[in-house]
Homo-oligomer: 212 residues x 2
C-alpha cells in the first residue's frame, strides 16, 4: 500500500471509529484495530492523534455536505432541491453522524482547530440553503424577505430538534424532527403546506457510503 493510500486508509478507519464512538472516545488503538494493523503505524503517518481526529472530522462533515449538495444539484427546481435537502439530511436521521456534530460543538470552545472546521462547515450548510432560497425567490415560487436569516432559522430548528432526538433518545419522535422542520421552512418561504414533502423511497439516504 502506497504512502498516500495508507494515509487515506488511516483517515477512513479513524472516521469509522469516530462515527461509532464519538470524537473524544476514539483512541489510536481503536483506529489500528479497525485497520487490522499496529498502533505504531498511525504515528508513522500522523504527528499526533489530535491532527488525525481533526482531519477525520472534517472528512466526515465534508462528505455529508457534498452528498447533500450533489443530490440537490440533480434537481433544477428550487422547491425540488429543498425537498431533497430535507430528504437526504443525514444529520437528523443517522445518530452517529449527528453525535459527531454534538462532540464538535462542545469541543469548539477548547480546540481552535475543531471550531474553525465546525464553523466553516455550518456556514457552508447555511449558504447551501441561502442559494436555494434566492433561486426560489428569483423564480417567484418562494417569498422570503431575509434569505440569510431564514436559512439560519431553518437549519437551527433542524439541529435543535435533532439534538433532542439524538442526545435524549425519547423526547422527540424522529419523524417529527423532519416534518416539523419542513413545515417551518414552508412557513418561512411562503410555500403551500406539503410542498416540501418527499415521496417515500426504498433506497437508503445519502452519506451511507461513509461506513461505520
Amino acid at each position: 500500500m502506497s504512502p498516500h493510500e495508507r494515509r487515506e486508509a488511516i483517515v477512513t478507519a479513524a472516521l469509522s471509529v469516530m462515527l461509532r464512538k464519538g470524537i473524544a472516545a476514539t483512541t489510536v488503538r481503536d483506529v489500528a484495530e479497525q485497520m487490522g494493523t499496529s498502533s505504531g503505524l498511525i504515528h508513522h503517518y500522523f504527528t499526533s492523534m489530535d491532527d488525525l481526529l481533526a482531519l477525520a472530522f472534517e472528512r466526515a462533515a465534508s462528505q455529508d455536505l457534498d452528498a447533500t449538495r450533489n443530490a440537490m444539484a440533480a434537481d433544477g427546481d428550487p422547491v425540488g432541491r429543498l425537498t431533497i435537502f430535507f430528504a437526504t439530511y443525514a444529520r437528523a436521521e443517522q445518530d452517529w453522524a449527528f453525535q459527531l456534530w454534538l462532540d464538535a460543538w462542545a469541543e469548539a470552545a477548547r480546540r481552535p482547530a475543531v471550531r474553525a472546521t465546525s464553523e466553516r462547515l455550518n456556514v457552508a450548510w447555511q449558504q447551501l440553503l441561502v442559494e436555494t432560497i434566492q433561486a426560489g425567490r428569483e423564480s417567484g415560487v418562494m417569498s422570503c424577505p431575509d434569505p440569510d436569516g431564514a436559512a439560519w432559522r431553518i437549519l437551527s430548528l433542524l439541529d435543535g430538534l435533532a439534538l433532542q432526538a439524538v442526545a435524549h433518545r425519547v423526547s422527540i419522535d424522529r419523524r417529527d424532527v423532519i416534518s416539523w422542520s419542513i413545515a417551518n421552512a414552508e412557513t418561512e418561504l411562503s410555500l403551500p403546506a406539503g410542498s416540501l414533502l418527499a415521496l417515500p423511497v426504498a433506497t437508503s439516504s445519502a452519506g451511507a457510503s461513509m461506513g461505520g
Copy 2:
C-alpha cells in the same frame, strides 16, 4: 465542616472546574485541588465521579430553570409570562451556562447519569412552555393546535440558534437569537407581531449569582 456543607462544597468546586474545563475534562483530582483537599474525600461523599458531574450539572441547570420559572410566576398573564421567558432565558446570553449544555448533550451518549439529568431538565423547560401555552389558549389570547409540539419547536429553535452563537462566536448575532425566537413563537401561537418583545431593562438577567 458538616457533612452537608462538605457535600455542597464539593458540588460547588466540581461546578467551578466544569465551567473552566468542560464536563468531560473534569477529574477527581481537579475537584480536590479546587477545594484544597485530598481526592479520596470526594469518593467518601459520592459513589462515582459520574454522579458528581451529573449533580453539579443539575445544580447549575436547575438554578437557571428556577430563576426563569420564578420570574415568570410574577406575571399572571400568559403573554407576559412568555415575554419574561425570553427576556430571562439565561442559556442564550451567558456563554458559560450554554457551554455546559453543549457539554451535557455531547456527553449524554457516554454518561447515563448526565443523559438522565439533561433529558429531565430539557423536558422541564419544555413543560414550562407547554403550561404557559395552555394557559394562553384557555384564556383565548393564544391559538395553538399542538402545545406540546409547539413548545419543542420554540425551545429547539432557541437552542439551535444559541448553539451557533456560542460555539462559533460569529455566525449569528446574539440579538437575532432572541428576536428570531420571539418572532417564531408569535407565529406558532398566532400572536400579533411584537407581542412578546420586552422593554429593555437595566438590571442583569437571572442566574448571574451562579458564579463561574
